[in-house]
Symmetry: C2
Subunit: 369 residues, 2 copies
């Protein structure tokens, strides 16, 4: 199989701006090209757009806007993990030999239609993600005797990390008391436990091994891929306090990369809501079942940025189609020692965890220098 | 590279029915499974949904509806060639080794939002496809001194073919006079020159070489793939009487398959409007520039079904996201000698041409037994 490397990235600040999706999409692509003036733009032979926006033909539109004529061009949607699905698709175009240089651009507006899964009648009128997050939180707290102040550590940590990420939506830090006293969204969910849907864009360029080595001094290689879809409807979840799709994805990604979880130096975890971070840490295997908050608290207290260094979704904001790409960019920057004051020391191997709709589907990527 | 075969197909009648997209999508998938009871359903490891519909998470939804838990699951959109883009994506998942058995299901409703490309301001208020089709028709007629009655042969032929396709939307044949006397849609376009957006669904199953040989007696192999995007905006087209993206796609698909155009026994051509068929026949290389209508007329008069045996888009109807998959199914049936009374004799090698938005992008596939 052809080896696939990440050779360029572009990301712009996440905001609540009311901009056309085409403009949002263009921003991070322009940033990528500006950051990498030696990229042979005309050799980009594939353009994949990751979004939940209803606008059509966005890949040819983006291609025309940046002045290229690719072979492969289309959009990909799968709610919140559209971004990593697009990266895996780009990987497969290169690994199969159909493409050599694939641009993947994700973009979303704050009012994304991907926030609601209308089809899921099992949720009755409760179709907004706050409802499954509320049930997850309630179940996790009950099963592991967790108090609100224990859970609040995730929001405190990730807002703190976000202050070192110039593109993050969050511009403030919060205390444990701030989190538990923030507005009650449901009986089990506080406002500061929620990531915010926002306007944002993130782009990466994938290349075949030969081209990656020609155009980049330090490509980051995609060495592990794991994906799993359990269902679409929330009520089909086997457990309300763990993530089956994440367990399977993580196991398969680590196996493909021939890595043990102990070898992961830095990770992006899909903390759409506070409870998702400990659940994912446990399902990925970073720690034992029920121990996720203790694990996160120890990192927080030692100022260790290993988990969600850019501030996760809670600190960075959550532009759905861009999120998985933004997570991947953070790991690329960490592995290239370009993460400035949020750099995790000696990070050689990283992991990205991106999921959709109450973890009914997950993607896990392993990246290495 | 791993070889990729088509091992099962499912297609249901194209209609003007007002059904939920999830129901439409399920219809052809159920048909595929019903037609192929020996398919190991639980081994389907990828599900790609091709559509322009605004509903989200359709691949996990379809997976849940048929009771499977795939690894890879997402939707693909690229207007009218979403279907062949999905097939190429499925091909790459298998050829790269990430998947072994990929279900590709396309579906659309008659009121598809993919009919209008809002972004293209170069068209002013004239954003419906009838306007670019009208300009193409006018340019083609002027350049090659074509009369309305010459062009009408395409609609006559394709409606005739559709009467032998039980899934076609058209239930009637028309004469040259019927076509030229049908309602004028624009100065250059008659009602019967237009394919109709409709409700429809089409599904195929792709397999790696090893699995294809295990589960199918006569898989059809995808041996050539060519794709090209020239622009998104209509006014960026180099020519108004040929299709640059189709020329490049066809050349590359034939090169990959190591075939000459003379070796193509049967072809599906994207006749969104009458004029598209001669333009595509010329751009693909079946005949010389300006000779497309003469070529089609000779086939029609000798009752040769080589081009658009199922009736093309004009006869079959055009459910956008399903169209490229329906075209591919027709070629599969032809190569497997299962096309009943529309069978082209001794068809061993076939071609699929699928395009979007005034041929600003095209896909060409070569299929072989």
């Amino acid at each position: 199989m052809n080896k696939v490397g990440i050779v360029a990235t572009g990301i712009t600040p996440f905001t609540m701006d009311d901009k056309k999706i085409e403009s949002v999409l263009l921003e991070s692509t322009k940033e990528l090209l500006k950051n990498n003036p030696s990229i042979p733009k005309n050799e980009i032979d594939s353009v994949i757009v990751s979004t939940n926006n209803n606008s059509k033909y966005l890949s040819p539109i983006l291609s025309e806007m940046i002045g290229i004529k690719p072979k492969i061009a289309h959009s990909i949607e799968n709610l919140c993990n559209s971004g990593t699905n697009s990266i895996v698709s780009g990987y497969s175009y290169i690994a199969s030999g159909l493409a050599d240089l694939v641009l993947i651009s994700g973009a979303e507006r704050y009012d994304s239609p991907g926030q609601i899964l209308d089809w899921d009648n099992s949720r009755g009128a409760f179709k907004h993600p706050i409802f499954w997050a509320s049930i997850f939180t309630s179940a996790y707290k009950r099963e592991f005797s967790i108090k609100d102040e224990d859970l609040a550590i995730i929001s405190v940590k990730n807002h703190k990390h976000a202050q070192k990420n110039p593109n993050a939506l969050s511009k403030k830090t919060y205390s444990i008391n701030d989190v538990i006293n923030s507005k009650a969204i449901t009986g089990d969910l506080k406002l500061l436990d929620c990531s915010r849907s926002c306007t944002g864009s993130a782009s990466i360029l994938l290349a075949s091994e030969k081209i990656a080595k020609e155009i980049s001094d330090n490509p980051v290689w995609i060495t592990g891929i794991g994906q799993k879809t359990i269902s679409a409807g929330f009520t089909k979840n086997d457990s309300l306090s763990s993530m089956e799709s994440t367990k399977i994805s993580s196991k398969n990604a680590l196996k493909m990369a021939q890595k043990e979880i102990e070898q992961i130096d830095v990770a992006e975890i899909h903390d759409a809501f506070s409870v998702c971070e400990p659940m994912a840490l446990e399902s990925i295997g970073f720690t034992n079942s029920g121990n996720g908050l203790k694990f996160a608290k120890e990192l927080h207290e030692s100022d260790n940025f290993k988990i969600n260094p850019r501030g996760g979704l809670i600190g960075s904001g959550h532009p759905l189609g861009a999120t998985g790409i933004a997570q991947t960019i953070e790991i690329v920057q960490q592995l290239q020692s370009k993460a400035h004051n949020r750099q995790v020391e000696n990070a050689k191997t990283g992991l990205v965890h991106n999921m959709s709709a109450a973890a009914t589907s997950s993607t896990v990527l392993v990246l290495e220098t």
